[in-house]
């Protein structure tokens, strides 16, 4: 190995006239790739309340409450403050009612604001289907 003092200088000087690599984040943003795992979002019309997502979520971030048994009214709360964005819920869901959007700027001043609640009734069609079975 030969030693060359100042071996870095050509590279350094070359970059003096190049654009810095820094992305000035809040002012300019990077492209988000397709299939980025952002935050989980529910499409209430598709959910059949099978609770597979609740069972598999590693962070216990999904909660489903029954609001009224007769009307089949449910409330799902996604606790984004606990969510670790692993997308396991999306994978566990049999009806593809959950998906990940590309939001990543989640920070707020209170973790309560991160809770997202969906109130919905179970769709009629699937209810009939299940009663047929």
């Amino acid at each position: 190995m030969k030693l060359r003092p100042g071996a870095f200088i050509p590279e350094l000087l070359k970059h003096l006239f190049k654009k810095p690599a820094t992305v000035m984040y809040p002012f300019e943003k990077l492209n988000i790739p397709k299939d980025f795992r952002g935050t989980p979002v529910l499409k209430p019309e598709l959910c059949i309340v099978c609770r597979a997502c609740v069972r598999d979520c590693p962070a216990f971030a999904i909660e489903i409450e029954t609001l009224s048994e007769e009307e089949k009214k449910y409330k799902m709360t996604i606790h984004n403050d606990r969510c670790i964005h692993c997308a396991q819920c999306v994978e566990s869901c049999p009806t593809k009612a959950l998906f990940m959007d590309d939001g990543y700027e989640l920070s707020t001043d209170s973790r309560r604001k991160l809770k997202i609640a969906y109130v919905y009734s179970r769709p009629k069609k699937t209810a009939q289907q299940s009663s047929e079975k």
């Binding site: 870095f8 350094l12 000087l13 970059h15 810095p20 000035m24």
Partner: protein, 323 residues
């Protein structure tokens, strides 16, 4: 009138105010250049292209909590940063910038002022050692010891290399040295080795990479500055900045023919020449990795000092030839 002039001289230009403003500008220049060499943006938000960032940092530090360690001597601990700024700012007064007259000796330009500047710059290093020692902290103590160890390494080559142009010019007065080289600029070519040695020694004096050993963050935390916070730290940072300006001004005076011209002319020359020196220092900072203190001492005695002595010999020969 003379008093007014002296006061302006001391406090406005080229005294404290100018030194403060210009040294923050130099810090910005150094940081920006260093960042660009590393493909980063550097200071970007405060003022245009972040030019006010050093001042903002200074002000922020002024308002921060100021802590004095329990075991430290309160008075010495508090007074050291101020003395530090005072010594380097005083050294700045002797730079032959606008306010001097070659034919006449004044309080800021006399035979031997080159020695005074070097002495004052050396004093600031001793102050760093004292501050490390008085912090009564392991890391500071080690930092302080490293400051002294390094001092013995670079001070000799710095003195030798800065004095050798003065030997050719046959004067110990900065203004006369500068004037001499304005008349015979070609003689500066023979001082190239000295310039090289002086730049490296100055880098060591300013404790910048590869010689940032006394406050090597990953080894001994803040080194000498570990216990300093708030105002005191702000003053120490100001001291380093002013030291950088004065050091590069000194090199510009003896190796680059000083700053002739009127008020504006001399200022422009001063800014240009010091920025060139600072740019070289920045490139050195970006190119190397920090070396160990033992390697530093070996390096300066094995390479720097012999080179400085060689320069001295060259200077003596040239002087003989001129005569």
């Amino acid at each position: 009138m003379a008093i007014m002039k002296a006061l302006v001289y001391l406090f406005v230009y080229p005294g404290l105010l100018f030194l403060f403003v210009y040294s923050t500008f130099c810090e910005w220049f150094d940081r920006k250049l260093y960042a660009r060499l590393q493909n980063r943006v550097g200071p970007a938000y405060t003022g245009r292209a972040g030019i006010l960032q050093p001042i903002a940092d200074f002000l922020k530090l002024l308002f921060k909590e100021d802590i004095i360690p329990e075991n430290a001597d309160r008075i010495i601990f508090s007074i050291l940063p101020v003395i530090g700024v005072a010594t380097v700012a005083t050294a700045g007064l002797y730079l032959p910038l606008w306010n001097y007259d070659v034919s006449r000796t004044t309080f800021n330009s006399f035979q031997g002022d080159i020695i005074v500047v070097l002495y004052l710059l050396c004093l600031s290093t001793v102050i760093l050692f004292l501050s490390g020692w008085h912090s009564t902290n392991f890391f500071s103590t080690i930092g302080g010891v490293r400051v002294l160890t390094m001092l013995f390494g670079y001070e000799v080559p710095l003195f030798l290399s800065v004095l050798s142009p003065a030997i050719v010019a046959d004067s110990w007065r900065l203004a006369e040295v500068a004037n001499f080289y304005q008349d015979f600029p070609f003689l500066l070519f023979f001082q190239i080795i000295g310039l090289f040695v002086a730049l490296i020694s100055l880098q060591a004096k300013l404790e910048r990479t590869p010689f940032d050993i006394p406050h090597a963050e990953t080894e001994i935390v803040g080194g000498t500055f570990t216990e300093f916070s708030g105002k005191k730290l702000a003053f120490f940072r100001l001291m380093t900045d002013i030291e950088m300006v004065v050091g590069s001004g000194l090199i510009a005076t003896v190796f680059m023919a000083g700053f002739a011209g009127g008020l504006m002319g001399s200022l422009a020359r001063f800014v240009l020449k010091t920025l060139i020196v600072i740019a070289i220092l920045s490139i050195i900072r970006a190119t190397f990795s920090r070396i160990r203190v033992d390697q530093m001492v070996v390096f300066s005695w094995k390479y720097l000092t012999p080179l400085a002595i060689l320069q001295l010999l060259v200077s003596i020969i040239i002087k003989g030839v001129i005569k």
